[in-house]
Amino acid sequence: MPRYGMLINIDRCNGCYACYLACRDEFESNDHLPYSAAQPAEGRSWMRVTEKERGSTPKVRVDYVATPCLHCANAPCVDKSVDGAVYRRPDGIVLIDPEKSKGNRNILSDCPHRLIYWNEEKNIPQKCTFCAHLLDMGWKEPRCVEACPAGAVVFGDLDDPASGISKLIASSKTEELNPDFGLNPNVRYVDLPKRFILGEVVLGDKKGDCAPGIRVQLGDGAETIECRTDSFGDFEFDGLKPSRKYTLRVVHKGYATVEKPVVTNSDVNVGVIELDPLG
């Protein structure tokens, strides 16, 4: 018996929404009973894509986080379900019964990620089914996975060490969305956006040139990490924790060291740090 899961790589994703639209194509006005009733025409895909823009001109980062249902092993929607309205298959796929769930709006709030959507027309809650009906017919992957041109969404049997997804998981640093929810999801991520601090260093007496190779340090009181500016004088620290107090320090021989406190309440573009020559 397989245990189905997905691995979504945010760095690979190019934000094309093919996954979003393939899900619409499969389900809008198409019943796939008993697993799912049709998505409404005025509605949305069950593969939600959220654009995250961070930084400020000219140092901007844009990422897309695609979230199908996470088909959690500790799914509150299953645990709280009455009369089996929300249930889990032996292969781990979580489904909402379109008959039993009729009128039950409360199911929406059972998902802390809000990945269950209300179908006003049919008066039922709905969500991603991992295209269970297609898997049953022998398809090897859901529509969203098939549509992705970037290989950013991978699907397969988490319990088979030889499967593509298992091999990827073994060689990647995988993460959960909101690990503090404790849901043990079967959909995991690689390279979820983290906090960054970035900027540029310019030498005050050489403003006509960029300043490559300048040491920039970031300390949080406990440890210090370091990087060097690139050929355009730009530097970036990524993978940082939110709401942390850091001290940014730029050191270059012959120039006054600059120290700057930075707090990661959001992603930070410190702008241009100008180093004054000594003497």
């Binding site: 929404y17 093919a18 194509d25 001109t57 970037a150």
Partner: protein, 839 residues
């Protein structure tokens, strides 16, 4: 329940169509038998690169069935109320009048009656017509097929298309490096391999290949750019907008103002010259006119050295970044990606854009264009591909039913009069007009210098306009003039034939409902335009010819274009002539198949049953990288069939007058030596509507309107509501799907505009309502809003200067051409102001 799975092909990828009980229920990327794929492999840096056995569609293709059954489909023939060909026509009411349903009989009666009357009264050339730039895929049904054969049969006045997507390349780059048979675009052969093996940095200049996809290639090249990123190729992007490719590639973004590209390019050249970091050997052997160019760059002629400091003032890019870009570019093997096909890009559709396009070539010439790793490459084409097996692309003569060898009786139109798409409204409203060149000047450099006048001596003015499609209000320039044109009494009769109700549909007297390619039989190779972009299917990992099946019967009362023209021809007593002796669309499909190389590989029955045929790259594959032959000073070895020098004693030459890359263009020197707007040496010329214009005081925002990401030149927009759920495409507010305009937070704050406010973009030419998308992805002073809205929705229908709330930002753009002898459109030089819209 009966289910059929049928094959078809779209403008951006081949598909499978699932039909249950006569209804299309699912669209999927084409699935082919594993064994039919023989993937190529590129070896680079000790790694093997090979594509997976699959097809990658452009995102909106997944929404094809929604578009097929759209409420916007034209269902029945319609006649405009108040139009009576026997009595009053009320032309001035076009755009306001309602419509009433009529029968096909009545519609055909009126259309054929008007054609007959006009031919008798004025002559065939009094009829004109044109399609949009792009039609639905399939060579039997493509615009250059049935429409062209029919119109030529009537001896109509043809309309030259302007090279709308790449003007500066067509009117400028050709005079630098030739390639006129590619309309100024470069060959792209085997540049993927070259980049994987040799390239260290890619400069994307006015290019968002992740969104523009070589026009037809779907998303196969997403993987290629990922390969390059994974091997730490550095990406640098010059664009007023932090585009989708920049975001995906984590590129260094150098934002710049429109109209400043040539200046930045000159400053890069200045850095190379003064720091001695360019390929002197290449310049001396492969180019002409460098000394004059050098003088201009150093300011020896005009007292203005083109320093990075000077270019910083023009562009908004800090001088240190320009200088560093130049140094990085010179010290690394660098690809310049200046448009989705090597060249193209919004920067090529601005004032004096010829100068930017020429500078792009000259910069790479200074670094040894053609040297391993040093190319002009869109990053979307040039994977290993078979070029010996031929199948006609839509623009090849052999796929056009009017002139193909597949036709027993081709049709030749004797009419010499021409119109030019860009100035068609002016030609109707205020003749006479004149222009240079023949639109797509693919025959020679000199074809650009042919002068045309309308009306042509001995010919009538046009009285009838047959329009297929409805895109121009959002794809041409200063587009309210199209409204005025339609309302002109000069146009006695207007027909619109289309699948969907679009921007221009409501200006016709008779509307004829056409069906989509899913409702008729056809065939085509994916991404193969042929013609002036031959071998374009090397933008796809696998060449595939698709038998495009008729999946369902034409919906409502729609008919295929071919059947519509056949029906009209029958009324005119020309049915046999039009149908080439009674061919059906399936007969044509078989005939096109027969003249291709496909019969050598698969018989019709198997091809018809299977639905596709994959043409794999040769094994072993012998790459011939674009322009490597030129760099190495040997005869052209790329399979570029329309390069006339190839295979001759001049095979090592480019197709400029001198055979070399021309810093000083000999063709311009000979034909327009005193043209200050397109001089023999490229100049940075201040835009006639830019940052330094007088008008900037009144309209201090520059509008950039590139090609959209989530629709295709008005195709799919409006008729496909799922796309309105994608914020990058349209944003729903109060029940309306608004077109976004990207505005910098500082510009928004200064005007009291918040995210999701409805705002009016306006200038002296028009006003458009959009929804504000406040973002750091644009420079302050820039408003970015895509062209190509399919929804023209005037608040005051019928009034040419009405505010449009559909998002047709092209209403704001200027009619002024690139320059006085370069008749290209320049929507990218457009000054506007914005204000929060209070109803």
């Amino acid at each position: 329940m009966t289910e059929q799975v049928l094959t078809s092909c779209t403008n951006e990828g081949p598909i499978l169509v699932y039909v249950q009980d006569g209804k299309v229920v699912r669209i999927r990327p084409l699935l082919a038998d594993e064994n039919d794929f023989k993937p190529w492999t590129i070896e680079a840096g000790g790694k093997l690169y090979t594509p997976p056995k699959r097809f990658n569609l452009a995102p909106f293709v997944h929404a094809e069935r929604k578009r097929l059954y759209s409420d916007d489909r034209l269902k029945y023939p319609l006649k405009r109320k108040g139009f009576d060909p026997k009595n009053k026509r009320n032309q001035e009411k076009r755009g306001v009048s309602g419509y009433e349903r009529i029968s096909w009989d009545e519609a055909l009666e009126i259309v054929s009656g008007e054609i007959t009357r006009i031919r008798e009264q004025y002559g065939g050339p009094a009829i004109t017509g044109l399609t949009s730039s792009h039609h639905n895929w399939g060579i039997v049904g493509y615009k250059m097929g049935p429409f062209q054969r029919f119109m030529d049969m009537l001896e109509y006045t043809p309309v030259f298309d302007n090279p709308d997507s790449w003007e500066g390349w067509h009117w400028g780059a050709t005079h630098t490096w030739g390639f006129f048979w590619r309309l100024g675009m470069p060959e792209q052969y085997d540049l993927l391999q070259d980049a994987l093996k040799n390239t260290e940095m890619i400069v994307l200049w006015s290019n968002d290949p992740d969104s523009t996809r070589a026009i037809y290639s779907g998303q196969d090249s997403v993987l290629w750019r990922q390969w390059l990123k994974d091997k730490n190729v550095k990406f640098v992007v010059l664009d007023p907008f932090f585009n989708y490719t920049a975001a995906h590639m984590d590129a260094t973004w150098l934002p710049l103002r429109p109209d400043s590209g040539a200046a930045v390019a000159q400053a890069i050249a200045y850095t190379w010259i003064t720091e001695n970091t360019y390929d002197k050997d290449y310049v001396s052997k492969r180019t002409l006119g460098f000394e004059e160019f050098r003088n201009h760059i150093l300011g020896n002629d005009d007292g203005k050295p083109k320093t990075p400091e000077w270019a910083a003032e023009e562009s908004g890019i800090p001088a240190r970044k320009i200088r560093t870009l130049a140094r990085e570019w010179a010290s690394k093997r660098t690809v310049l990606s200046a448009g989705t096909r090597g060249g193209e890009g919004s920067a090529s559709r601005q004032a004096y854009a010829t100068e930017w396009a020429r500078m792009m070539i000259l910069l790479q010439a200074m670094q040894g264009l053609g040297k391993p790793g040093v190319a002009i490459w869109g990053t979307t084409m040039g994977c290993p591909s078979n070029t010996s097996i031929s199948f006609p692309g839509y623009a090849d003569p052999d796929s056009r039913m009017g002139m193909s060898r597949a036709a027993d009786h081709p049709i030749v139109n004797p009419t010499k009069q021409r119109l030019y798409r860009l100035t068609l409204p002016e030609a109707i409203l205020n003749p006479p007009i004149d222009w240079w060149g023949e639109g797509f000047c693919g025959q020679s450099l000199d074809q650009q210098f042919i002068h045309h006048v309308y009306p042509r001596e001995g010919y009538p003015e046009v009285k009838m306009f047959y329009r297929y499609g409805s895109s121009f209000l959002a794809t041409m320039v200063d587009t309210s003039k199209w409204v005025r044109m339609y309302q002109s009494p000069k146009l006695e009769f207007v027909v619109n034939q289309d699948c969907w109700w679009g921007g221009e549909t409501g200006f016709a007297d008779i509307i004829l409902p056409a069906c989509t390619n899913l409702e008729r039989d056809d065939l085509a190779e994916a991404a193969a335009a042929g013609g002036y972009s031959i071998h374009g299917s090397n933008g796809n990992n696998f060449r595939v010819v698709v038998r495009m099946k008729k999946c369902i019967e034409p919906l409502w009362e729609s008919k295929s274009d071919y059947d519509i023209f056949t029906a009209i021809s029958e009324k005119l007593g020309m049915k046999d002539k039009y149908t080439d002796g009674g061919k059906t669309d399936l007969d044509w499909a078989k005939a096109f198949y027969a003249i291709s190389d496909l019969p050598k590989l698969i018989n019709w029955e198997d091809f018809d049953r299977k639905g596709y045929f994959i043409i794999n790259a040769d094994e072993p594959y012998k790459p011939t990288p674009a322009l490597r032959w030129f760099y190495e000073g040997r005869p052209c070895d790329t399979p570029d069939p329309l390069n006339k020098k190839r295979g001759t004693g001049l095979g090592d030459e480019l197709s400029t007058y001198s055979g070399k890359i021309e810093f000083q263009s000999q063709s311009l020197l000979k034909n327009f030596p005193d043209d200050e707007e397109r001089p023999p040496i490229p100049h940075h010329i201040l835009s006639w509507e830019g940052y330094r214009s007088e008008l900037y005081k009144k309209y201090p925002l520059q509008l950039v309107s590139p090609h959209p990401r989530f629709s295709f030149h008005t195709h799919y927009d409006k008729h496909t509501p799922w796309l309105n759920e994608i914020p990058g495409h349209r944003v729903m507010k109060d029940g309306y799907a608004w077109w976004p305009a990207h505005v910098h937070p500082s510009d928004a704050a200064a005007r009291g505009i918040k995210n999701d406010d409805i705002i009016k973009l306006y200038n002296d030419r028009g006003a458009v309502l959009c929804i504000a998308a406040i973002t750091e992805r644009v420079l302050p002073g820039i408003v970015h809003s895509y062209a190509s809205s399919a929804n023209y929705d005037p608040l005051e229908p019928g009034k040419a200067n009405s505010i449009d709330r559909g998002g047709c930002v092209n209403l704001l753009t200027s009619s002024r051409m690139l320059s006085k002898h370069a008749p290209g459109m320049a929507p990218g030089s457009c000054l506007i102001e914005i204000v929060k819209w209070e109803e």
